[in-house]
Amino acid sequence: MPASLSVIVDSFPYLLQGTLNTAGIVFAAMFLGLLIGIAVAVGIVYGKRPIQLLLSTYVWFFRGVPVLVLLFLFYFGLFSYFDIGFSAFTSVTIVLGLTTGAYQANIFRGAILALPKGQFRAASALGMSNSQAVRSIILPQILRMSIPAWSNEYSIILKDSALAFVIGAPEIMARTQFVASRTYQHLPLYIAAGILYFFLTWAGVYALNKLSDAVRIPGYSHNGIQE
């Protein structure tokens, strides 16, 4: 077996563990971002002026600063400054979660604004409170509409997660680099890393397409256009 192949075989369990770690970081970050994104979008659309300003500032901050800067800021800056002992894994999850939260907020905000005004009005006219209308009428519709954009966001965050290697989180990139620097088999190892990222992207996007089909509203096609 050529050395290039045997190094892949030998390091496979190690890289696979890294892949699971990457998946863990990304799923946790996307979930955190989902909760933040929904809350922020609802607050920006329906909230009072001070709340809108506060939330918009959050969105602008995390959209305007590179993830790498945020990682350093949080991991080396904030967390060490205040002596909070977060692991690299936790730090990267929080930073990516806050970042994608800002982007997801914009996805959901756009969807809320695209929904016909009559939906909220009809809910109000039936005597629903504002929060009932948002929970029962607005969110179920805009979350469906947002799946394609959300799947896009997933693939972006997945690849951003590779930045975690700079603070030593044990994910795909860090582990690949670790093996490569010992074996000097850079080419096959980074090809392997690329394939692992590609596989995670494909699996996630495939699952989200399936989800989109499963929750499709009868009478509407994928793009929300009435059939």
Binding site: Q119, A125, L126, G127, S129, P140, Q141, I217, P218
Partner: protein
């Protein structure tokens, strides 16, 4: 069919958007079982008046009383309570697109009236049958025709047992051949004594259902009276002229 104490009183309702006065001191008094029809040119304030009555649009000034109880516009609970008792039918139906016809009706029964799912579904099926859609409960809005959507919307409003029904041009967004089914549902409601305020250009609804006609123009009620008073032969007034033109349109189309 009318009693003496009004079920709804709106007084001196004032509303402007961005400096444009839409409603300029409008009064409406509605008695139980009465049907008031709002007519007049588009942009005259009919829609805004209806939306002010159930506080979907909060009036800038004026007073609204439901059964002698004044509504505090700054109190959310007051607004929710008012809207639970005043049903509304929209020109563009506004069915919840992600819910079946049945769930369009059950959702408010469950969330607002706190009924359990079974009771809510039973009630919803009853209301769907009343509007002739007993078989369509499992279909989604996108699978229904315009006329069917509007009938589901009516069933949805009625399931809440409203004391008053507000109808904002209920047939205006419908194909001519679908108007009939909605008109007959509305006429049935009238026959059962439903209290209604309806904005419409549908001449058959105006002449046959109205106890009282209000003609609105430029944010004010410029004429008011029974159809007999306003539509008597030889009368020269805005209502008469408006209805004559609607009549010409209606016969012209046939």
């Amino acid at each position: 069919m009318t009693s003496n104490t009004p079920i709804l009183k709106a007084q001196a309702i004032q509303k402007s958007f961005d400096g444009n006065t839409i409603l300029n001191g409008v009064d409406v008094v509605l008695e139980k079982g009465e049907i008031i029809v709002l007519i007049g040119p588009s942009g005259g304030g009919k829609s805004t008046l209806l939306q002010c009555i159930n506080c979907l649009v909060i009036p800038d000034d004026g007073q609204i009383e439901l059964e002698q109880q004044p509504i505090d516009f700054s109190n959310k609970q007051d607004l929710y309570r008012l809207r639970q008792q005043v049903g509304m039918i929209f020109q563009e139906f506004n069915l919840f697109d992600h819910l079946t016809a049945l769930d369009n009706i059950t959702i408010a029964l469950r969330k607002v009236k706190k009924l359990d799912r079974n009771t809510a579904e039973k009630r919803a099926r009853l209301e769907l049958e009343q509007v002739g859609l007993g078989e369509k409960g499992d279909l989604y809005p996108a699978q229904l025709s315009g006329g069917q959507k509007q009938r589901v919307a009516i069933a949805r409003a009625l399931a809440m047992d409203p004391k008053i029904l507000l109808l904002d041009e209920p047939t205006s967004a419908l194909d001519p051949d679908l108007i009939g089914e909605v008109i007959s549902v509305i006429k049935n409601l009238a026959a059962k004594g439903m209290t209604m305020i309806m904005a419409t250009h549908q001449i058959s609804l105006i002449s046959t259902l109205a106890d009282h006609i209000l003609f609105m123009e430029n944010g004010q009620i410029v004429e008011s009276g029974t159809p007999k008073e306003l539509l008597a032969k030889g009368n020269v007034n805005k209502t008469q002229g408006f209805c004559d033109r609607l009549n010409e349109l209606a016969t012209g189309e046939q």
